[in-house]
C-alpha cells in the first residue's frame, strides 16, 4: 500500500497539537511555539506529494484510504481527494503554517493551548476536505466547531462570548438538519458512501427537502445572505489567527459542501432552485458591498468583503458551466490567500495600536512604508485587479454569468466598482495622509517575521494572478465529471 498522505495530512497536525498541549506551562511557552511550528510545517510538507503525484487526467478519487470503522452501519474511514478538494487540503495546511507563525509573539497567554487549537483545527479541516463517508464528514464537520469556538471564546476580544455563541448556534442549527438528510440518504441507499449517493434516484420533492437541509448547513458556513451576520461578529472578536483561518478555510468548507453534496446528489433540485441561489448570491455581492463601504471597523469591513466575494463562489457554481464552477473554485483559493493577508495586515496594525477602528489611523505609510506596500498589493487583490489572484475567479464567474444571462453578469460586475470603493477608501483613510495621531507616529515598520509572512502570501497572490493555469488544470477533469453528474437527472 502506498503512503497514506491524506491520513498524514490529518493526523500529523492533530497529534502535534495534542503533544503541544503537554507543554502548557508558562515557562514552556517557547518550546510549545517551536513544536507547533514544526508540527505545522510537517503537516504542510506531507501535503506536497498530493500535488506532485496528483493525476490530472482522471476524475476518480485519488490517494484513497478505506478501512472499516463501524461495520454494523456500514460506516468507513474512507478518504480520498479529487481535483476539487486536493487544492484545499494543501491550502489549509499552508495557512496553518502562516497562522502558527503569525501568533508567534502576539499570543502571550496560554500559548500551547492556542497553538494546539489551530493544529487540531487544521487536521479536522483536512479531514472535511477528504472525507468520502457521510458520517465521517459529519463528525469532523461538527468537531471543527469546537477549536474555533474556543479560539474565539478564549483569545477573543471583549464581546467574545456573544460572538462565539452566535457562531456556534448559527452553524450547529444548520448542520443538525444536514444530519437528518444524511440519515435519510442512508435509509434509501443503505450506505454512507458519498460517491454512492451520486447515483441514488430521488424524487423531486424529496430532493428539494434534502436540498433545503444541506443548503442551510452549508449556506451558514459560506455565509450567504441573510444568514451571514455571525461572520462579522465572529471576525471582530476573534484573534488575528482565528480570523485568518475562519476566512481562508472555514468559509471554503461551506462552498465545498455545495460541490461535494448539493450539486451532485441533488442535481434536479439544484437546477430547480438555481434562481434562488443566484438571487442570494447577487444580493451578497451588491447589498453586502454597500454594507462594507460604511463599516468603521476594519475587520468588519473585510468580513463583509469576504461575504461579497463568497457570493461569486456560489454564483459561479450555479451557472452549471465549466467556466462558472472553475471560477468559483479559483475564487475560493484566491480568497484563501487574499482574506488571510488582509486579516494579517489588520493584525499587524492592531498589535501596534490596539484598535481596529479606521478613524484611529491615518498616514500609516509615513511610519510603515514596507507594510503599506504589502497592504496596497493585497487591497488591489481584494478589489480584483488583474495580475493578482483576486481577478481570476471574479473574471471567470462574470464571463460565465454573462453567458447565461447578461443581467446576472451585470449584477455581478457591480463588485468591480463596489470592491474598489470599500477597499481603497479604507486604504486611503488608514494608510495615506499625514500622520494622524501619536499612536500612528510611534508605529514601527514590519519586522522580518511579518515581512516574510506577508511576502510569501504576496508571491502566491501574484503567481496565481499571472499564471492561474496550474491551479485550473488540477481542477479541470473533476469539474467536467461533476458537470456530467449534475447533468444527469435523478427523477
Amino acid at each position: 500500500m502506498s503512503t497514506p498522505y491524506l491520513s498524514l495530512a490529518i493526523w500529523v497536525p492533530i497529534v502535534a497539537g495534542i503533544v503541544v498541549l503537554f507543554f502548557s506551562r508558562e515557562r514552556d511557552a517557547n518550546f510549545a511555539r517551536w513544536l507547533a511550528l514544526i508540527g505545522a510545517v510537517a503537516g504542510f510538507l506531507v501535503t506536497i506529494p498530493l500535488y506532485l503525484y496528483f493525476d490530472t487526467t482522471t476524475p476518480a478519487m485519488q490517494f484513497v484510504e478505506y478501512a472499516d470503522w463501524i461495520p454494523r452501519f456500514d460506516i468507513h474511514y474512507h478518504l480520498g481527494v479529487d481535483g476539487i478538494s486536493v487544492l484545499f487540503v494543501i491550502l489549509n495546511s499552508f495557512v496553518t503554517v502562516l497562522v502558527v507563525w503569525a501568533g508567534w509573539e502576539v499570543i502571550q497567554v496560554r500559548v500551547a493551548q492556542y497553538m494546539a487549537a489551530f493544529l487540531i483545527m487544521s487536521g479536522l479541516m483536512n479531514a472535511v476536505f477528504s472525507a468520502l463517508d457521510g458520517i465521517l464528514f459529519y463528525l469532523v464537520f461538527e468537531a471543527m466547531l469546537i477549536p474555533m469556538y474556543l479560539i474565539i471564546g478564549v483569545w477573543g476580544g471583549p464581546n467574545r462570548v456573544y460572538a462565539a455563541l452566535k457562531f456556534f448556534l448559527y452553524t450547529i442549527f444548520g448542520s443538525l438538519l444536514m444530519l437528518v438528510a444524511l440519515i435519510y440518504l442512508y435509509s434509501v441507499s443503505e450506505t454512507f458512501e458519498i460517491l454512492a449517493w451520486y447515483k441514488v434516484p430521488l424524487a423531486l420533492s424529496t430532493q428539494i427537502l434534502l436540498w433545503v437541509a444541506f443548503f442551510l448547513a452549508f449556506a451558514v458556513k459560506v455565509p450567504m445572505w441573510p444568514i451571514h451576520t455571525w461572520l462579522p461578529d465572529a471576525h471582530v472578536e476573534a484573534p488575528t489567527g482565528g480570523s485568518v483561518v475562519l476566512a481562508a478555510i472555514t468559509l471554503k468548507i461551506g462552498a465545498y459542501g455545495f460541490v461535494r453534496f448539493i450539486l451532485p446528489i441533488l442535481p434536479d433540485a439544484s437546477r430547480y432552485l438555481s434562481g434562488f441561489v443566484i438571487a442570494l448570491s447577487l444580493i451578497a455581492i451588491v447589498y453586502i458591498g454597500f454594507v462594507a463601504i460604511v463599516q468603521a471597523d476594519m475587520k468588519k469591513l473585510v468580513a463583509y468583503s469576504s461575504i461579497s466575494h463568497m457570493g461569486f463562489v456560489t454564483l459561479g457554481f450555479f451557472m452549471f458551466s465549466v467556466l462558472g464552477i472553475e471560477g468559483g473554485l479559483a475564487q475560493m483559493l484566491s480568497h484563501g490567500f487574499v482574506s488571510a493577508a488582509m486579516f494579517l495586515c489588520i493584525g499587524v496594525m492592531y498589535d501596534r495600536v490596539h484598535s481596529r477602528q479606521i478613524t484611529d489611523y491615518g498616514g500609516v505609510v509615513n511610519t510603515m512604508p514596507k507594510f503599506a506596500a504589502f497592504m496596497m498589493l493585497f487591497a488591489m487583490a481584494n478589489a480584483g485587479l488583474p495580475g493578482t489572484s483576486g481577478f481570476v475567479g471574479e473574471f471567470l464567474v462574470i464571463l460565465a454569468a454573462v453567458k447565461v444571462n447578461f443581467w446576472i453578469g451585470f449584477g455581478a460586475a457591480v463588485s468591480l466598482i463596489l470592491g474598489a470603493a470599500y477597499t481603497l477608501w479604507m486604504y486611503k483613510r488608514v494608510i495615506f495622509g499625514e500622520v494622524a495621531n501619536e499612536n500612528v507616529a510611534k508605529m514601527k515598520d514590519i519586522g522580518s517575521r511579518e515581512f516574510w509572512l506577508l511576502g510569501i502570501i504576496a508571491l502566491a497572490v501574484l503567481f496565481m494572478g499571472v499564471w492561474p493555469k496550474p491551479f485550473i488544470d488540477v481542477m479541470h477533469t473533476s469539474v467536467t465529471e461533476l458537470l456530467t453528474v449534475v447533468g444527469r437527472s435523478k427523477l
Binding site: 463601504i293 471567470l396 444571462n405 481603497l424
Partner: protein
C-alpha cells in the same frame, strides 16, 4: 524577432522591479539610469520591430497559456501589426523623454526611486496593453495602467487633495471597466473566444444577431457600447471625465506621460483596434460620435477659466481626446490614431514645458503669479510656443494636419449625430486656440507677477485673468516656504530642456511628414477595418494632392480662420486690453459661474454617487443587518424561544394541586371529546 517582442515589455518591467525593491540600496543615480536604460532598450527594439513590420512581417502569436478551461483557452500573446508598432513608438518615445525629464524635475523629491519604479511599471503595462492579441491581456494592461495612474496621482500621499484625486480616478475608471468587462463577457458568450483574430473573423457572420433580453438590440451595438464605456473611463469622455483634471495632483512628468500622451489614449487605441466590431454597428458609432463631440466642445470651454497652468492643459487634453473620439465615431480610425500621435508629442511637450515653468517658479502653478517668463526661459518659451501652435492647429505644425483631417472626415460622414459633431469640432477650434494662447500669454508675456504674493492680492490681477475664484490652493504642488525667493527664474537644466526640444521636433514635422502614409497610404494595412459605407478617409484621399496643397486648402477653410480668430481674441484679451476679461466675466456672470464650477459635475457626483452609496450602505447596515436580520430574525428567534420557555416553566410550579387541576381538566376534555364523537 520573438525575443525582441518579449524585450519590449520586459525591459521596463525588470527595471521597475529592481528599482522598486532595491532602489534605495542601489542609489538614486543607478535607479534612474537603470529605468532609462530599460525604456531605451524597449524603444530601440520598437524601432527594429517597426522596420520589420513595414517590411511586411506582422506577427500574431502566444507567449504562454494563462488559463485553459474546457474549450476556452486564454493566452498571453502579442499581436504585432502596424497599429501596434505605431503605438509602441509613441509610447516608448514619450516615456523615454519623460524618464530623462524626471531626473531634473524630481531631483529634490525623497520618493525619487519610487517614482522611477512607477513610471517604468507604467511603461510595461501600457506596452502590454498595446501589444495584446486578446481581450484578457487588453484588460490586464487596461487595469494595470489604471493602477499605476492611481499610485502616481497619489504620489505625494500626505496631501489630502492628492489622495482624494487618486481614489476618484480609480473609481471613475472602474465604472468604465464595469462596462468593459461586460463587453468582454458578451464577446466570449457569442464568439466563444477572447482571441482578437478569431473574434474579428467571426464578427461579420454575427452582425445580424439581435438580443431578445435587451429590447432586441443588435449584439454588435451592445458589445461595442459596453466596450466603449470602458474607453469613456480610460479616455475620460463625458460623463466619466471628472477624474482627469484632478489627476493633475500627480507630479508633472506623469501628467505628460500618463494623463496626456499615453494612458488616456488607451481608449482611442482600443476602439481603433476593435474597428472590425464597431464598423458593424451604426448605433454604437453614433453614440461614440456624440459623446466625443460633447467632450470636444464642452471640455474646451472649461479650459478658458482655469488658472492652474496644469489644469488648462488637462482640460485641453479632455477636449482633444474628444476630437479623437469623434474621429472614431465617423470611422476615421486612422485620423484618430494620427491625432493621437501628434497630440502625444505636442501635449507631452506642453505639460513638460508647464513643468519647467513650475520648477523655475519653485512649484508655483497659478497663472496669475506668472507672466513675462519668455526672457528668462527662452527654450521653454519657444518649445511651448511650438506646442501651442500645434495644439491650435496652425499650419504647418503637426496638430493642423491631424485636426483638420478629423474635421474634414466629420464633414463627409453620414453617421447619425454628424451635424452636431461638425459644429462641435469647429467651435472647438476657436476655443482651443483661445485658451492655448491665453495660457501662453499669461505665463510668458505681460508683466512679471511672480515677485512675492502681494501682487496677487491686487484685485487688478484677478481681473486680468478670466477668473476670480482662487483654485490655486486646491492643487498647488509641493508647498514650498521658499517660493518666490532666490532671484529671478532661471532656464531649466539640460535634462529638462533636451526632452522639450526633442518633443518639439516631432510636434513640428510629424504632420506633413506622416499624413500621407498614415491616412491615405497603406500604413495600417489590415489592422483597421472600415465598412465601405463609412469610408470617409478614403473619400478624403480623393482630394489629397500633397501636403502643400493641403495647407493651401486649409488656409481658405473655416477651420484655419477660426483658429486665427481664437489667437487674435487671446491677443486682444491678454496683451492689448488686459481689462477685457474682467468685463466679459461681469457681463456673462451666470455662464462664468457654470464654467467655474465645471458644470457642477463634481458636486453632483459627490452628492449623488458617493453620498448615495454611503446612504444605501448605512441603511443596509443599520436597518437590514442590525435591525431586521440580527434584531428580528436572530435575536428575535432567541427571544421567542426564551419567551416560550419562560411560559412553559411557569406551568411546572411544583404544587401538587396545580398538577391535579390540570389532570382533571384533561380528563374532562378527553371525556367531552369521546362523548361528542
Amino acid at each position: 524577432m520573438r525575443n525582441l517582442y518579449l524585450l519590449v515589455p520586459l525591459a521596463p518591467l525588470v527595471a521597475s522591479i529592481v528599482v522598486g525593491l532595491w532602489g534605495p540600496k542601489i542609489g538614486r543615480a543607478a535607479s534612474a539610469w537603470l529605468c532609462i536604460l530599460g525604456v531605451a532598450a524597449s524603444f530601440a527594439a520598437s524601432i527594429v520591430i517597426f522596420r520589420d513590420v513595414q517590411a511586411g512581417h506582422a506577427f500574431n502569436g502566444d507567449v504562454y497559456e494563462w488559463l485553459v478551461s474546457g474549450d476556452l483557452r486564454i493566452t498571453i500573446g502579442f499581436l504585432i501589426d502596424p497599429l501596434t508598432v505605431t503605438m509602441l513608438l509613441v509610447v516608448n518615445f514619450v516615456s523615454l523623454m519623460v524618464h530623462v525629464y524626471t531626473i531634473g524635475y524630481m531631483a529634490d523629491d525623497p520618493g525619487y526611486t519610487r517614482f522611477f519604479s512607477y513610471i517604468s511599471l507604467f511603461t510595461f503595462s501600457m506596452l502590454m496593453l498595446v501589444m495584446s492579441n486578446n481581450f484578457l491581456q487588453l484588460f490586464f494592461g487596461w487595469e494595470a495602467v489604471g493602477l499605476v495612474s492611481y499610485l502616481l496621482i497619489g504620489f505625494w500621499y500626505t496631501r489630502p487633495s492628492a489622495i482624494y484625486a487618486n481614489l476618484k480616478a480609480f473609481l471613475a475608471n472602474r465604472v468604465g471597466d464595469f462596462g468593459f468587462i461586460l463587453g468582454i463577457g458578451l464577446v466570449l458568450a457569442y464568439f466563444g473566444s477572447l482571441d482578437y483574430e478569431t473574434v474579428f473573423a467571426k464578427a461579420p457572420s454575427l452582425a445580424g444577431t439581435v438580443l431578445p433580453w435587451a429590447g432586441h438590440w443588435h449584439l454588435m451595438s451592445a458589445i461595442c457600447i459596453c466596450l466603449f464605456v470602458g474607453a469613456m473611463g480610460k479616455s475620460a469622455q463625458v460623463p466619466l471625465h471628472v477624474w482627469l483634471p484632478d489627476s493633475m495632483e500627480g507630479p508633472t512628468p506623469i501628467s505628460a506621460l500618463i494623463h496626456a500622451a499615453t494612458m488616456v489614449t488607451a481608449g482611442i487605441f482600443m476602439v481603433a483596434r476593435m474597428s472590425p466590431l464597431f464598423e458593424l454597428s451604426d448605433a454604437a458609432l453614433a453614440f461614440v460620435t456624440i459623446i466625443g463631440a460633447i467632450t470636444a466642445l464642452f471640455m474646451a470651454f472649461l479650459g478658458i477659466v482655469q488658472n492652474d497652468i496644469k489644469r488648462v492643459v488637462a482640460y485641453s487634453t479632455l477636449s482633444q481626446l474628444g476630437y479623437m473620439t469623434v474621429a472614431l465615431g465617423v470611422s476615421a480610425y486612422s485620423a484618430a490614431i494620427f491625432h493621437l500621435m501628434t497630440h502625444a508629442f505636442f501635449k507631452a511637450l506642453l505639460f513638460l514645458a508647464a513643468g519647467s515653468v513650475i520648477i523655475a517658479l519653485h512649484h508655483e502653478q497659478d497663472l496669475r503669479r506668472m507672466g513675462g517668463l519668455r526672457k528668462y526661459m527662452p527654450i521653454t518659451y519657444i518649445t511651448a510656443l511650438v506646442g501651442s501652435l500645434a495644439l491650435a492647429g496652425i499650419p504647418p505644425f503637426a496638430g493642423f494636419f491631424s485636426k483638420d483631417s478629423i474635421i474634414e472626415a466629420v464633414s463627409l460622414s453620414h453617421i447619425p449625430g454628424h451635424t452636431f459633431a461638425y459644429v462641435a469640432v469647429l467651435g472647438g477650434v476657436f476655443v482651443t486656440a483661445f485658451y492655448s494662447f491665453r495660457m501662453l500669454f499669461l505665463a510668458f508675456h505681460g508683466p512679471e507677477r511672480f515677485h512675492g504674493h502681494a501682487a496677487v492680492e491686487d484685485a487688478q490681477h484677478n481681473d486680468r485673468t478670466l477668473a476670480s475664484h482662487d483654485q490655486s490652493h486646491e492643487s498647488a504642488e509641493e508647498p514650498d516656504p521658499h517660493a518666490h525667493e532666490g532671484g529671478p527664474p532661471k532656464e531649466s537644466p539640460w535634462v529638462i530642456t533636451v526632452p522639450l526640444v526633442l518633443l518639439a521636433i516631432p510636434s513640428i514635422y510629424t504632420g506633413w511628414a506622416h499624413i500621407e502614409p498614415m491616412l491615405f497610404g497603406n500604413w495600417f494595412g489590415n489592422s483597421i477595418v472600415v465598412h465601405p459605407s463609412h469610408a470617409v478617409v478614403a473619400e478624403l484621399a480623393h482630394e489629397w494632392h500633397g501636403a502643400v496643397p493641403f495647407i493651401l486648402h486649409g488656409l481658405v477653410s473655416p477651420t484655419f480662420w477660426l483658429a486665427i480668430a481664437g489667437i487674435a481674441a487671446a491677443i486682444w484679451f491678454y496683451i492689448i486690453d488686459p481689462a477685457m476679461p474682467g468685463r466679459v466675466v461681469a457681463a456673462f456672470r451666470p455662464i462664468y459661474t457654470l464654467l467655474d464650477n465645471k458644470y457642477y459635475a463634481d458636486r453632483f457626483n459627490d452628492w449623488f454617487f458617493a453620498g448615495g452609496s454611503r446612504a444605501i450602505g448605512r441603511f443596509a447596515s443599520h436597518v437590514g443587518d442590525r435591525v431586521l436580520i440580527d434584531g428580528v430574525m436572530v435575536n428575535g428567534s432567541a427571544r421567542l424561544i426564551g419567551f416560550f420557555s419562560r411560559e412553559i416553566r411557569r406551568i411546572q410550579s411544583g404544587y401538587v394541586y396545580h398538577y391535579a387541576f390540570v389532570m382533571i381538566v384533561g380528563v374532562f376534555v378527553l371525556l367531552y371529546w369521546w362523548g361528542v364523537r
